[in-house]
Symmetry: C2
Subunit: 435 residues, 2 copies
């Protein structure tokens, strides 16, 4: 067995055996197989695909390149939620403390924003002092003590994925269902969780542009997770307009705080409750979705979910006072109101343009080394389906960059489509795929 | 324009524009595009192909990575012949001086053997003192003075091809028609020739295993050459059994000398005359194939072709005395006769086994760094179609390696298939493809 033969086999459309996949991934992770051979294999996988069995082996092999957490000594059901990324997606900030408040353990490992897509870690770090780089022992301890912790990827988890992802990013092999599946699930399997809920975003602001592509990915994720003994439910949800009303790190964290205190946009609430209810059902601490929703609403209304969030922020060295008085947060130097160009109904809010505009305002990254201005972003004052009057403020831009404000002003006016006819807001959840 | 976008375009089956191909090849040749991006593109080309227009641009772009020779100041038609490689193919050693003796200039750049396939340079270097590393000025001068020179690839010709070929060899992207076409033709275009004859070998001992695959390659070569203004004829010829009777460097050179002196196997003669006649026709120094063959036979019978060979060897510092007294060449320590196992007719002589056996005997290379024993090899005393008697010697093995002799003895007895029924030797030339 050698790397050449394995590349040639996949090139010719063959199914790779488990020992061949292990040989390649292990060799690559240990720098024995060079980048140029891996990128040839990645392109062959991109173009010729992989069976579910191959994808499951790839996932396990990537997982085995690093450590696997073990929560066996901590009682309770451990579950995580992961989204494929979009604009305005602050669900995790509400869901993690909410589900933990219901008595389920949520050891969550999240990512950072890149390009138009935001990341949970950045939103958490918008809270002064918040540490996302807990050690694994600190992570275990916090899950044991308060049932929830939100941290970043560590070097010790799936080093093969980190190396492969960087290579895929340079060789146009990102958008491959087996490779996406392996990348997502290897890291989630490494968390040592009992169950997983995934949110596959679909639409102009997402990685997957069509519902059909998302269904293919969802099926791959559910089947591959099952082959690795991880019960997994995949939600396919709309990402045409931003989720909720805020895009930009602190603005989103603040929206999550508002929601935890009892406010929030209806779409954000709909999705958060649906995902959280699924987690409670998988953990078997409720018997029905209705019971789950009832329980979750109680935890929100009683302030228990917000208290859990504060507890987590405190444990992770964040400034809790800002959660109680979010209006004390520093403000951007510049604010600009975007006005509706006509009377009518909001038909489209282009999430991709909104996401890219946030980057331009300083609130995101084009490359991983970019610094983020947590204050920068966009607040939407409307959502699809809302009636608006000409010159009504439909969005506000926040930034310290004077020049960027003007550029984004121009781009944003095109991001909103206003129709003369009444528009019905489409359902956010397109489909739910279970094993 | 960037490398990522170009890879993605080819990945998605798009046709690359000329400036995109130039950007990638130029960037790669100048170490601005890394191996891992090139190997992703190579795999995408392998799997999604290239149009003739793209292949022609690729070829030109690879050509432009180095120098292009210019024979404008030297009168006469300049033409080269190139074979895709096989076992026992010593045609160039006869053809180059023969065609030059007819008054056509033959500036020939050849390669070395690797694996089962032999190389013209090694056969020439079997002649003591023969220099294949002439400078380009020496090459020009010799073509001007005697009309023929046979040298090796220089670093200054198509450096992009050298780098790409090494990468393809490691990433299972060798067997791609556009990439093979680009590799062969870029180097031939760099010779600054007026015409080209190619011999695409087909069968078990060749790179292309089937006539259909060879036809596809032949069409690509002819069309791509035409788009780069190089008149080219492609012969598709059988490479199931070795060509002629000798395999191994000195044994083959000696067979070529015998042929130039008037002897030689019929298949070797058939192919050499067909290719040489085509070259004379392309150079328009004859009006018909019959006239060409008549002229060529005259040059062989009169000794003019042999004298031209001696003249070339002398110019390139080779020991001419060995051409006149080849029996003075050092002999291998061991010789072993292979006997026919039964009465019958030779049905198959597996060229691949013969080629690999020559390597084992010391007469070839597994990697480019291997040293060659020029004396080592195999002489066949029969060809397909010949009648043989049980225990008749059908081949002789020459080697200094005592252990290898025994191993090859065993392998060779399986390389010959003897049938009870009469076998008709199939025609060597399968097809000829012209623009």
């Amino acid at each position: 067995m050698n790397a050449y033969q394995i590349i040639a086999k996949k090139r010719d459309g063959g199914a790779l055996a488990a020992d061949e996949i292990d040989y390649f991934i292990h060799g690559y992770a240990h720098d024995k197989i060079p980048d140029y051979q891996m990128s040839a294999l990645l392109m062959a996988i991109y173009l010729n695909g992989m069976s579910f069995a191959e994808t499951a082996t790839l996932t396990r092999s990537m997982l085995e390149s690093g450590i696997r957490m073990n929560f066996k000594n901590i009682p309770g059901y451990k579950i995580d939620k992961h989204s494929t990324g979009g604009v305005g997606d602050k669900v995790s900030l509400v869901l993690a403390p909410l589900v933990a408040a219901a008595g389920v353990k949520v050891p969550m490992i999240s990512g950072r924003g890149l390009g138009h897509s935001g990341g949970t870690l950045d939103k958490l770090e918008a809270i002064p002092g918040f540490r996302t780089n807990l050690s694994i022992d600190e992570f275990y301890q916090q899950i044991d003590e308060i049932g929830v912790a939100m941290i970043g990827q560590t070097e010790r988890i799936c080093p093969a994925d980190k190396k492969m992802y960087a290579l895929r990013d340079a060789t146009a092999t990102i958008e491959s269902v087996p490779l996406i599946t392996g990348s997502i699930l290897s890291k989630k399997l490494a968390e040592g969780i009992d169950g997983l809920v995934l949110d596959v975003k679909t639409g102009v602001g997402a990685f997957m542009k069509t519902a059909d592509d998302s269904r293919i990915l969802a099926e791959s994720l559910v089947k591959t997770a099952a082959l690795n003994d991880l019960p997994t439910t995949v939600f396919i949800t709309r990402m045409d307009e931003p989720l909720g009303r805020a895009a930009g790190n602190w603005l989103e964290t603040r929206e999550a705080i508002d929601y935890l205190k009892g406010g929030g946009a209806s779409d954000l609430m709909e999705l958060t409750l649906a995902l959280s209810a699924e987690m409670l059902l998988m953990a078997k601490i409720v018997r029905s979705a209705e019971e789950a929703r009832h329980r979750l609403n109680e935890l929100l209304n009683s302030g228990a979910a917000f208290r859990k969030f504060c507890q987590m922020v405190e444990h992770q060295h964040g400034d809790v006072s800002i959660l109680h008085e979010p209006e004390q947060y520093p403000r951007s130097k510049y604010e600009l109101h975007i006005k509706a160009l006509r009377d009518g109904f909001i038909k489209e809010i282009d999430a991709l343009t909104i996401g890219l505009s946030v980057v331009q305002l300083g609130g995101g990254r084009l490359v991983m080394e970019d610094q983020i201005d947590y204050k920068a972003g966009i607040l939407l004052h409307c959502q699809i389906g809302d009636a608006v009057k000409k010159d009504q403020t439909i969005a506000t831009i926040y930034s310290d960059r004077e020049k960027a404000i003007a550029e984004v002003d121009c781009a944003l006016s095109k991001a909103f489509t206003i129709s003369g006819e009444c528009v019905k807001k489409p359902s956010l959840i397109i489909d739910v795929v279970r094993p």
